[in-house]
């Protein structure tokens, strides 16, 4: 576990996972003249990647993790000896579930974007290449066990996402993409300062600087708290911008509103999880004392995020921004669970990351489907859609219910775990956070009621109907016009159902059987608890099963 041998070698499975999407992305360039083939190759790559991730999942041994193996499927090769960096990969349960989430979402997103109308002069091959490149950098971020390597992927991740937003996004995409890039880059550079500081600290303590996570973790206990606090803050700011926590959040609504839907799903669903993953993997184990000292600060930000995000979500006019603000509220819950220092809360936070990726991903997809039909992002342009497209409305309801953590959906389990796990140590913050749940019900139901229920109304809907020659209210009775209404504002197509079905299945199944995920997560969470050096608070044990 400690003193990782710097020799090269190990299991190459993670390397394959990393480089397969890279190859797929590169293959898009020679295929750019043959779009159908390019799309097929991209989809094939994404599906193959998913299969490989399933293989990885199956070969991950929870017994080994429980008996103290911190990382599995490790690979390591020296990279830059002068800096003591390694090309080192490995996964624990937390990383594994996030990789699984990434690989699960990407093929579905490709299917969703399959027939998307791109801005003029942009090609599908470039679009899919960027999606695959984003996937590769995400896999890299989650699997790196060398902090330098992690940083490399952390920054490299920006580039494909920047181009996804800037080239394929909405009307205000230039502003949004640059804002996104600069915010993240600034955070990254502040983290770089801490990263270098960490390296220097390790050189002081070990005689030879290192970036290997396990070695850095082993010296964490000897680092003075004041040093830890400075280093912690650098990492924290980067992750708080990425996550994003209030007050570092303002880039997210812009970026996710202007991004094409698939990019928004990846951005909010997975990319932002890098921030919360970073808290759990880097901030807590590498700076345990600083984390404990500064936890109240983070908790305050988390609770503010929960309430503020929810309040702003209620006030949004734009559907994409609405989803972005609901996410900011959810990220508050994840941060709360992460800085509450109990295994249940940790497990809840980790599960929350996966579940939020699924439910918000689905919510974004539903919003995308609405926009594709009505051509407007304004909530007030829609109304009574459930009369025209009942299946779509039903799916939106499910996505919403999952987002507000209704029992029976996936998010309930994680939200419950976070709250139960946080309460014994942080009762005040937990009670405040609970108020957020009420808000969540409020904004989701309000959104659903606005867009789906009541009489058919709203500019976008009416225009779509008029184009199909079925305008005017009260035409419900005429069967001829009713048929036209269907063509004006059609229900889900088979391809769209194909995108949604796996999401729905997973959301419901995880709502009832979160066990398989928790089994993978729990040993790693226990290890993290050990690294932080705090015992579990006395509480209702055993809930995390």
């Amino acid at each position: 576990m400690n003193g990782i041998a710097p020799d090269s070698g190990g299991n190459v499975l993670l390397l394959v996972l990393l480089f397969l999407p890279v190859l797929g992305a590169l293959a898009m360039y020679p295929l750019r003249r043959n779009i159908p083939l390019a799309k097929a190759v991209a989809m094939g790559t994404a599906l193959l990647e998913f299969v490989l991730v399933v293989v990885t999942y199956l070969s991950y041994s929870t017994e080994a993790a429980a008996s103290g193996t911190r990382f599995q499927l490790e690979f390591s090769a020296p990279w830059i000896p002068a800096f003591g960096t390694h090309f080192a990969f490995g996964i624990d349960g937390i990383a594994l579930v996030l990789i699984a989430l990434t690989a699960f979402l990407v093929p579905g997103l490709m299917l969703f974007a399959w027939a998307e109308k791109l801005p003029e002069g942009r090609t599908m091959s470039g679009y899919f290449a960027l999606l695959l490149a984003t996937e590769a950098t995400l896999i890299g971020v989650f699997t790196a066990t060398d902090v330098f390597l992690f940083y490399v992927f952390f920054e490299a991740m920006l580039v494909p996402m920047y181009f996804l937003i800037g080239r394929f996004g909405g009307p205000n995409r230039q502003y949004a993409s640059v804002k996104f890039f600069l915010y993240s880059l600034l955070g990254g550079l502040i983290m770089l300062a801490s990263l270098i500081g960490l390296y220097v600290t390790s050189a002081d303590q070990l005689g030879q600087g290192t970036f290997t996570w396990a070695e850095l973790q082993s010296i964490a206990a000897n680092t003075p708290t004041s040093t830890q606090i400075w280093l912690f803050l650098g990492f924290f700011v980067a992750f708080a911008i990425k996550a994003p926590l209030v007050p570092f959040h303002t880039w997210l609504p812009d970026a996710s509103a202007e991004a094409p839907i698939v990019a928004a799903v990846l951005l909010v669903g997975v990319l932002d999880k890098v921030g919360t993953y970073g808290f759990l993997r880097y901030c807590l184990p590498l700076f345990p004392e600083a984390s404990k000292t500064l936890a109240p600060l983070v908790l305050i930000l988390a609770v503010i995020g929960i309430l503020y995000g929810a309040l702003l979500a209620v006030g949004q006019k734009d559907m994409s921004r609405f989803v972005a603000y609901t996410s900011i509220a959810h990220f508050g819950f994840i941060a709360l669970g992460t800085f509450a220092f109990s295994s249940q809360a940790f497990a809840g936070a980790t599960l929350y990351m996966v579940n939020h990726g699924l439910s918000t991903g689905m919510l974004f997809v539903m919003v995308g489907l609405l926009i594709a039909r009505g051509g407007s992002r304004l909530i007030s342009d829609y109304g009574g859609v459930s009369k025209l497209a009942p299946v779509l409305a039903g799916c939106l309801l499910l996505a919403g219910m999952s987002s507000l953590a209704l029992p029976g959906t996936n998010s309930f389990v994680s939200e419950f775990l976070v709250l139960v796990g946080s309460y014994p140590r942080e009762p005040v913050y937990t009670i405040l956070a609970t108020v957020g749940i009420v808000f969540a019900a409020l904004y989701i139901l309000w959104f659903y009621q606005q867009t789906m229920q009541g009489p058919v109304r709203g500019n976008a809907v009416i225009r779509a109907l008029e184009r199909a020659g079925a305008g005017g209210p009260g035409a419900m009775i005429d069967p001829g016009i009713a048929a036209k209404r269907v063509s004006g504002f059609p229900d889900l197509t088979r391809r769209e159902i194909g995108v949604l079905a796996p999401l729905i299945v997973v959301i419901v199944v995880l709502g009832f059987f979160p066990g398989p995920l928790l089994d993978v997560i729990n040993p790693s969470v226990a290890a993290t608890m050990q690294e932080v050096g705090l015992p579990d608070p006395v509480s209702l044990g055993g809930i995390a099963r």
């Binding site: 002068a82 992927f153 920054e155 600069l182 300062a193």
Partner: protein, 541 residues
């Protein structure tokens, strides 16, 4: 004291100093080539000059490179000093020589290219153009007139020849730079400074297009450069007064154990370093940089931006480490201020630029500030980090200027930023290359820019400059904004109908740009290739 004088007295004949020819062979080769190049320019018929000069330059650099490689293969790690300690050939010298030769080769390729601008980018004098009735002041010369001028010299039916004085200039400047970074005493350093500067002043004024701008740049560079040289010389005099010697090691010894007045020492240091920082375009001594970068012919700008920076910082490194290493606690505070000023002048003024070449000039000022962080860290890591940074930065900048020289309209290069809008649509490869290079300048991982910044910043942090590192990172974030602006323009903006065309580069320019891009990528992914060499030894003496 008297005893030592008496002991030396009987040695009346002045011994010729021992010369380690193997060590200084690359320098000798380059100097010889520069002299031959002048002779060729004088005696060859005009139409033969271009091929012969190009061949001579390339062969000279190759031979110098080979001798360097042979010597470096089994050079003593501690380095040697030769020519009675006037020249030090140690690992940093060898590394900088290698860097300069490679950068010089790529610059020669850019300079030699005749396909981008018909007949090359250079013309010797305004009269030549006035003689055929084209305007000498503006940038509006038509291509046909230009060809007419050149044809009148060469054989009929030839491809247009170009002004080939630029080749001996380049070779002399390059030799001067090589001597500059190896100079172990201040007089040698001063002479090398002049050898490298004078050709550069002339080269700036050679532009075929936008003559007025080019000549203004040359005059400005010359006048300010003369001032800087004077500063250097004044500093040299003060230091001689302090230490009684111009050798760097003697100054260090004098500073270490003496009760002499520090005023002379630090006054001398300040003036000396001002002269050096002028060459390295460190703010606030940067004022010439934007004008000269903009006015000089782009291949020359590439040469200056890359090689001069390497030479200047090579010398700064040596002076600070060898002569002033022991006193660094005294002067470091001032250098902090200079570094901060340079980074923020570069970053903030860079934001307001509308001309690509000026923008890169301000970026070079910001980078000079970053480089200073490494140069200030008087440690092994500081030296190797700075050396690596110079290599990485040199190639990225060179390739950036190579790309800039390709974006043209009827009026020559289209350097105004607005002209770059939508370039990605017309020329995806060029836009991709430019984006990659700009990301490297911004310091995004997997490019050499990131590894270099990391090396320099970690050295600075290790030597107790944590606040400065944080400031530098903030400045990096600001510079990223104007790099991004170009990317945004190229990729996300609508294409204007009368946009500039992208010239298909000739083989020479292609090779130069490719070299820059490949090294930028390679040093980003496997920096050990160069980093191991850079950290193999420290300054001799």
């Amino acid at each position: 004291m008297i005893a030592t004088v008496l002991a030396q007295a009987p040695v009346t004949p002045i011994d010729a100093p021992a010369i380690d020819y193997a060590a200084i062979a690359p320098l000798l080769v380059m100097l010889a080539a520069a002299c031959i190049s002048v002779l060729l320019e004088a005696f060859l018929p005009r139409h033969q000059r271009w091929p012969v000069q190009v061949a001579l330059s390339v062969v000279a650099i190759a031979v110098a490179g080979v001798t360097l490689g042979i010597y470096a293969g089994n050079a003593p790690a501690a380095g040697v000093t030769t020519l009675s300690d006037a020249v030090a050939v140690d690992v940093p010298t060898l590394f900088l020589w290698g860097t300069l030769l490679l950068l010089g080769l790529a610059s020669i390729f850019l300079i030699a290219d005749r396909s981008v601008e018909p007949g090359g980018a250079f013309v010797a004098s305004a009269e030549e153009r006035a003689a055929v009735g084209t305007t000498v002041t503006g940038g509006g010369g038509a291509g046909s007139d230009v060809e007419h001028v050149d044809r009148s010299y060469g054989a009929p039916g030839d491809v247009p020849t170009m002004q080939t004085e630029v080749f001996p200039f380049t070779l002399f400047a390059l030799s001067g730079m090589m001597a500059f970074v190896a100079a172990n005493d201040l007089l040698t350093m001063f002479i090398a400074l002049e050898v490298l500067s004078l050709p550069l002043y002339l080269m700036c004024g050679l532009a075929r297009r936008r003559r007025l701008l080019s000549q203004e740049a040359a005059v400005k560079y010359f006048l300010l450069g003369a001032f800087a040289s004077a500063f250097f010389l004044y500093g040299l005099a003060l230091l001689y007064g302090y230490a009684g010697s111009v050798k760097l090691t003697d100054i260090a010894n004098a500073a270490a154990g003496s009760v002499r007045s520090d005023t002379l020492l630090f006054g001398g240091l300040a003036l000396l370093v001002v002269g050096l920082m002028f060459k390295g375009s460190v703010g606030p001594f940067h004022t010439w940089t934007p004008d000269v970068y903009q006015g000089a012919p782009t291949p020359v700008t590439a040469f200056m931006g890359a090689c001069t920076k390497v030479a200047a910082f090579g010398a700064i490194l040596r002076v600070l480490n060898v002569a002033f290493g022991s006193t660094h606690w005294e002067w470091r505070g001032v250098m902090w201020a200079v570094a901060i000023a340079s980074m923020f002048i570069g970053a903030i003024l860079g934001l307001t630029q509308t001309d690509v070449k000026r923008m890169v000039a301000y970026s070079s000022i910001a980078h000079a500030g970053f480089l200073l962080l490494g140069a200030m860290a008087i440690t092994k890591e500081g030296i190797s980090g700075t050396l690596f940074y110079l290599l990485a930065y040199g190639f990225t900048t060179l390739a950036v200027f190579g790309v800039i020289s390709l974006v043209r309209d009827g009026d020559g290069e289209a350097t105004h930023l607005s002209r770059w809008a939508g370039l990605a649509k017309r020329s995806p490869v060029l836009a991709g290359v430019m984006t990659f290079l700009l990301l490297a300048l911004a310091g995004i991982p997997l490019t050499s820019g990131f590894t270099a910044k990391f090396a320099v910043f970690s050295a600075a942090l290790q030597d107790g400059m944590a606040p400065l590192v944080v400031i530098a990172l903030v400045a990096s974030a600001i510079t990223a904004f104007f790099y991004l602006r170009v990317v945004v323009l190229m990729y996300f903006s609508e294409t204007p109908t009368d946009g500039p065309t992208v010239t298909v580069p000739g083989a020479f320019t292609t090779v130069a740009i490719t070299l820059g891009v490949v090294l930028t990528l390679l040093l980003g992914i496997v920096p050990s290739l160069a980093l191991d060499w850079a950290s193999a030894g420290v300054f001799a003496g």
